[in-house]
């Protein structure tokens, strides 16, 4: 389904409750339960507050179309490379054939691939936006995702646009083997080329951003934002535990943790994300500095005026 259809379809969509103990006797509308504070929330309310729990601030995971809706100036999104999808170059078949995983992912997400890319305006700034969708094989990066990212960067370079990437991913897509691993190098190369052209790149690390996606284009942005509570990292949690034989700190590798350890520019609540990105673009896309005045002479100024 092209993204434009999706937006139409969305208008009539209904969420079903995510847990069995949702109040059943309430009037029309649907309800969800916050996994963090266990409050029951009306979906209509969540829609108005960018899917953030009104009670505890928990950020619900959201899919690519919803993210786009929240980020871009209304009606400005034009999808690009919508027809680009994965194939099965290795005829991968361990436990489950890759083709089957792909078919399921397409059905579950209604998307042709794990990333949606397109032109848009954000706060009036022309951008190319890419958003990974976790429902599609855990937002993993194979050849198609890598190629769509590469093309997004090249498009931005061609059309003098900033790039915004919102990541939610388990990492490189195992089922395409080395072709997936090399997408890390390929996307990193494109970040470098955009940078050489002096165009801004902002990334948003959403929950979760892991492995080969973190370790390539996601963290190479000029400014990195992350959503509260988002899990971010390279190695898998279980592998780390097995390696170091100790339990990990409670907030290990959350967005807040990495802000403290200097890896991010800021953790930004979803409700402020769009305006923060738009403002950042105002800075990075050049705000038009007034022309130079005459040369300065040394002089002394007092708090009350010149002396």
């Amino acid at each position: 389904m092209p993204i434009s259809d999706w937006f139409k379809a969305r208008e009539g969509r209904k969420y079903t409750t995510t847990s069995a103990d949702a109040p059943g006797d309430l009037p029309d509308g649907v309800w969800v339960k916050c996994p963090s504070c266990k409050h029951t929330l009306y979906q209509g309310d969540l829609d108005r507050v960018a899917d953030v729990c009104l009670h505890c601030g928990h950020h619900f995971d959201i899919d690519a179309p919803r993210r786009i809706e929240l980020l871009v100036d209304e009606g400005t999104f034009e999808e690009t490379e919508a027809g680009l999808t994965s194939v099965d170059p290795l005829r991968f078949n361990a436990a489950k054939p890759y083709t089957e995983s792909l078919a399921k992912a397409k059905a579950a997400s209604g998307l042709p691939e794990a990333i949606v890319t397109g032109r848009a305006l954000v706060g009036g700034h022309p951008v190319v936006l890419g958003v990974l969708d976790f429902r599609f094989i855990a937002g993993s990066m194979g050849s198609a995702v890598g190629e769509k990212i590469a093309r997004a960067f090249r498009l931005a370079k061609r059309e003098d646009r900033a790039v915004i990437m919102v990541t939610r991913s388990g990492g490189a897509r195992m089922q395409e083997g080395m072709l997936s691993l090399m997408q890390m190098a390929k996307t990193a190369a494109e970040v470098g080329r955009l940078a050489s052209a002096g165009l801004p790149y902002i990334s948003v690390l959403a929950n979760p951003t892991m492995g080969g996606v973190t370790a390539s284009f996601a963290v190479l942005a000029d400014v990195i934002f992350a959503e509260p509570g988002a899990l971010v990292g390279f190695a898998g949690q279980r592998i780390i535990e097995q390696t170091i034989h100790q339990s990990l700190p409670k907030n290990f590798r959350t967005a807040e943790y990495f802000e403290e350890y200097g890896m991010l520019d800021a953790v930004v609540p979803r409700g402020e994300l769009t305006t923060t990105i738009a403002l950042t673009l105002d800075y990075l896309a050049g705000a038009g500095v007034p022309a130079a005045a005459e040369g300065a002479a040394c002089r002394i100024v007092s708090a009350g005026g010149e002396t």
């Binding site: 802000e259 403290e260 200097g262 500095v289 300065a296 708090a303």
Partner: protein
């Protein structure tokens, strides 16, 4: 909250206290008492005048360290709009002793970099009293490079006793981090305006503390070494700092005389903390003018001129 009294203000504070005591006396005002009060008032006024008229270097150091003196974060909050604070060096940590932020002064988009002291003990512990570790300098450097890439002028606020002299700071390359910043600042292809707002302690100050303009608040100091450290080397006695201070040529006036500062912003009598609003207004105006002068200067010329500034520093014989 009682006003913090600096050492050199103590005689004045004592008189003021005595006056307050007299005025609190719940008795009829006798002519003798009235005389005493007006005498005290006259004495206070006179002392006020002489005490603050020409502060000695050591007295200025005390003013520069006054706990209520406006700090980097105050300037950011009061002078700038649209502030987005940026965190971290992307390699080790986010040193809160350094603040980096995208910020807008009177419509001009800038990158602000400053030493950040706390306003109370709790904040000061978090921010290590404004003394950065290497990751703080590297955080600043990242901000410089970002500013350069996107043509944002850099405004720095200098206010530190110095780079933190600790084991881990040395281990992680304090000297290396400072040196990298010096080379980066010297050739950064965007305007750099440095403002001395309080303490300017040695290499830790310099690491974000020079550029195309150096603007000094009247009571800010900037020194190759703190007076205490200097005294402890030459007199083997840190308490003789008041004697060392005048030797080091570290006041704003000294820096003007040596050709190192471009401009001094006069402070209200007694120091910037007595009337922060007027200081904010002056700093906004002076920095704004400097930004205006430097905007649009071709970058090659800008950097060439900054190099010439540096080349010219030094007095020697040949």
């Amino acid at each position: 909250m009682a006003r913090f009294v600096m050492e050199f203000e103590r005689p004045l504070a004592e008189l003021e206290e005595k006056l307050a005591e007299l005025k609190r006396l719940d008795i009829a005002v006798t002519p003798e008492l009235a005389d005493e009060i007006s005498g005290l008032e006259a004495e206070i006024e006179k002392l006020h005048e002489t005490l603050y008229a020409a502060l000695s270097p050591w007295e200025k150091v005390q003013v520069s360290r006054h706990p209520e003196r406006p700090k980097t974060q105050d300037y950011v909050e009061m002078l700038f709009d649209d502030v987005i604070e940026l965190h971290g060096d992307r390699a080790f940590g986010d040193d809160e002793a350094i603040m980096t932020a995208l910020a807008t002064l009177d419509g001009r988009r800038c990158m602000v970099i400053g030493h950040r002291k706390g306003k109370n003990t709790k904040e000061n512990i978090k921010r290590n009293f404004g003394s950065p570790h290497p990751e703080g300098f590297r955080k600043a450097r990242r901000a410089m490079k970002l500013a350069e890439k996107f043509g944002l002028p850099v405004v720095t606020f200098i206010d530190t006793q110095g780079a933190f002299p600790g084991l881990e700071a040395e281990q992680r390359g304090q000297a290396w981090a400072i040196a990298e910043n010096l080379a980066t600042l010297a050739s950064l292809r965007t305007p750099v305006i440095a403002v001395g707002i309080g303490e300017g302690g040695s290499g830790g100050a310099l690491a974000i503390g020079f550029g195309d303009r150096l603007i000094m608040l009247e009571n800010a100091y900037y020194s190759v070494i703190t007076p205490e450290a200097c005294a402890s080397i030459i007199f083997k006695d840190a308490t003789r700092a008041p004697e060392a201070a005048p030797c080091l040529a570290m006041t704003a006036d000294d820096l003007m005389r040596l050709g190192l500062a471009d401009e001094i912003i006069r402070e209200p009598r007694g120091g910037a903390h007595r009337d922060p609003a007027s200081v904010f207004a002056s700093v906004a105006r002076v920095v704004g003018e400097a930004l205006g002068q430097l905007a649009g200067v071709p970058l090659d010329e800008l950097v060439e001129e900054r190099h010439r500034r540096l080349e010219a520093i030094g007095v020697y014989d040949e």
